[in-house]
């Protein structure tokens, strides 16, 4: 699909809850349909940034433009036709059926006569992410992963040009994580939409994203292709985690290292281990060392 392209420009955005600043001077331009991942440690302000894009929050300073239009002067209704949002969690004080829940994503587009068409869109979307069998179930009787897929479907039926996803695969198993992320990536190409996804799974994000943004200390620490963003140094600074970054199928793949664990104990075979001072130890002694490393003395074992 060609034609109209989509862009988001974020200029000098600042935001803080009450006195404490979360986002400090965010500058960012995203141009064209793609899958873009936002990564960064807990509490860095990823969700907050997304809320500034879809007007749940208003930045205290700076401007967000979508296709050149200032979000602050766009009505919620207009914005809802362009920007879809899949939250991390959803209220279910009054749970509806899955169909009705997903149908609500049609709200910005629907009118009195559109119900049957809307139902068709809902059905196609449920099929796309393989949950059509859940259609008539009640939203509050689903597993966490099914829940998450239904909310994703609600975002998709909104048919937005920009789709904001807050950790959309956090409850999914590895197969469905890959499947959903791949579908998002394919949709961005097929329908020409800009999918912005917050993720804590760096490897999945690296595998499918066109670009990545790494947030740190209220600002954009790194932005670019996965290969540019996911370097061992960046990961060390932002997450404080040692890692080896290897290339796999043309994408960076992170092997996380834990000096507290990996360097002390190296498995040799089933029952024999090498400790950090290169002694060969048996399973029982290994377990004792592990407990000591974790600062949790084993009960009944004396030094």
């Amino acid at each position: 699909m060609s034609g109209s392209t989509i862009r988001i420009d974020i200029e000098g955005v600042e935001f803080g809850y009450s006195a404490n600043p979360v986002l400090k001077n965010i500058n960012l331009s995203v141009n064209g349909p793609q899958l873009l991942s936002i990564i960064g440690p807990n509490g860095v302000g990823k969700s907050t940034l997304i809320h500034c894009i879809n007007k749940i929050l208003s930045p205290t300073k700076g401007v967000v433009y979508i296709d050149g239009q200032d979000v602050a002067s766009t009505t919620l209704k207009e914005l809802a036709k362009k920007v879809g949002y899949v939250p991390y969690a959803s209220s279910d004080a009054f749970p509806l059926s899955v169909v009705d829940t997903v149908l609500m994503g049609r709200h910005p587009h629907s009118n009195w006569k559109s119900l049957d068409h809307d139902l068709d869109v809902v059905y196609e979307t449920l099929r796309l992410i393989n949950i059509e069998h859940l259609a008539m179930r009640s939203f509050d009787e689903l597993s966490a992963g099914q829940h998450q897929k239904v909310m994703l479907a609600r975002g998709l039926v909104q048919e937005p040009k920009v789709l904001l996803l807050d950790e959309p695969t956090s409850n999914l198993d590895i197969k469905h994580q890959m499947e959903v992320t791949r579908i998002m990536r394919d949709l961005s190409q097929e329908k020409g939409i800009l999918v912005i996804m917050i993720s804590h799974d760096l490897n999945i994000a690296a595998k499918y994203s066109d670009h990545m943004i790494m947030l740190y200390d209220g600002g954009v620490y790194a932005a670019g292709t996965p290969e540019e963003v996911l370097t061992a140094e960046n990961i060390k600074t932002v997450y404080g985690v040692e890692s080896d970054v290897i290339m796999s199928h043309g994408r960076p793949h992170i092997i996380m290292l834990d000096p507290l664990f990996d360097d002390n104990i190296k498995p040799l075979d089933d029952d024999v281990y090498v400790s950090s001072d290169n002694r060969v130890v048996d399973r029982m002694e290994r377990d004792t060392i592990v407990r000591n490393v974790l600062k949790e003395p084993a009960r009944g074992v004396t030094d």
């Binding site: 209220s91 004080a93 509806l96 709200h107 059905y123």
Partner: protein
């Protein structure tokens, strides 16, 4: 087109569920009709149930009877003694249930209703001020002074809520707390007024505070009907938005709903609906909670169905309660509502589906 086959069956299944929901609506309407018949028979002993229906039907169709025949007397009795309170019960039941359903959706809280948010108590306070002190906002006294006072009283909690939410975002739970605080305040003011008044006024004011349909006359009806019809039509037009609101404020915004403005407009409409009932019947409790709860258990939480079906169920419950109040013990209907309402409400909580409704 085989691809669309499944989609068609989804559309079909969806509409099939709609039919089941209509069934609940029809059953409660039939319930109302049955109680209307029983009511009429009890008003005039010498007729059978079928005769009662025929007489009511004839009256509606404009048939005139020979004066002083049994039918003529029955017609006069039914129409002048029980019909005003039946109509009032139907209208008030529908209105209070709609207001309850609206409030619950607005606050995203199954415990919200005009009572738990202080609106009824505000209206009650306004009306009691007129009744006891003779103080009215307008220069008119008597019934119309009471009506105006009730409106003004109902708007006080709404105004407080709106003012607070302008200064800081109010969570649904905080709104309920504000409402509860306000309703305690108004209740104690009402108690104070009842303490200082004379015995006759006390009796009237007290019965009215409990909630009664005894005092309804035909002239009370038009205003109740008009406000209820306009108000509930307005609510029906907004059921989609009410559903969207159930996703929580942030999500509703991202689906294009201006949450704050929507909530203020709906609160005002609800205050007007509540006041128009309260100033004629007094405060009748539980209906705004029981009817929507029952309906949600039967047909689910889609407001497109919850609102109209709650109105029908609300009418049925209030007519039935008033019938019981009149025939069995001649107590104010508010007492009967509380006596049957609280155990029903208790049962509903026990029966409700696991996970249904977050109670704060």
């Amino acid at each position: 087109m085989s691809e669309n086959l499944h989609s068609d069956s989804l559309v079909e299944r969806y509409h099939h569920l709609t039919m089941r929901k209509l069934l609940v609506l029809v059953v409660s309407v039939i319930g109302v009709i049955i109680v209307v018949g029983l009511f009429s028979v009890s008003a005039y002993d010498n007729i059978s149930l079928m005769e009662a229906y025929r007489i009511i039907w004839d009256h509606i169709m404009g048939v005139e009877y020979e004066p002083r025949t049994t039918e003529w007397w029955a017609d006069r009795f039914i129409w002048n003694t029980v019909m005003p309170r039946i109509v009032a019960a139907i209208v008030a039941g529908a209105s209070l249930a709609a207001a309850g359903a609206l409030m619950q959706a607005l606050m995203n809280n199954p415990l919200a209703d005009p009572y738990s948010t202080g609106i009824s108590s505000g209206a009650c306070f306004g009306a009691i001020v007129a009744l006891v002190l003779g103080l009215t906002i307008t220069s008119t006294s008597g019934q119309s002074g009471m009506i105006v006072n009730a409106f003004v009283g109902a708007m006080i909690p709404v105004g407080v809520v709106i003012l607070i939410s302008k200064r800081m975002p109010l969570s649904p739970a905080a709104l309920i707390l504000v409402g509860t605080a306000l309703s305690y305040f108004f209740s104690s003011m009402v108690t104070y007024l009842l303490v200082i008044t004379d015995a006759d006024t006390l009796q009237n004011a007290y019965i009215w505070q409990v909630g009664t349909l005894d005092t309804i006359v035909w002239s009370s009806i038009p205003m109740m009907v008009v406000v209820t019809a306009v108000g509930s039509a307005f609510v029906m037009l907004l059921t989609r938005q009410l559903n969207v609101l159930s996703l929580g404020d942030a999500n509703a915004k991202t689906l294009g709903l201006d949450v704050e403005k929507f909530r203020v407009v709906c609160l005002i409409v609800m205050a007007i609906m509540t006041a128009s009932i309260v100033c004629f019947t007094g405060t009748i409790g539980f209906l705004g909670l029981v009817a929507p709860h029952l309906v949600r258990i039967l047909v689910g939480s889609d407001n497109k169905f919850v609102v109209p079906i709650s109105m029908a169920v609300g009418s049925f419950i209030l007519v039935l309660a008033d019938y019981i109040a009149m025939t069995i013990s001649d107590v104010p209907v508010g007492v009967v509502m509380s006596i049957i309402g609280s155990p029903i409400f208790f049962l509903l909580i026990l029966w409700q589906k696991k996970g249904y409704g977050t109670v704060y």
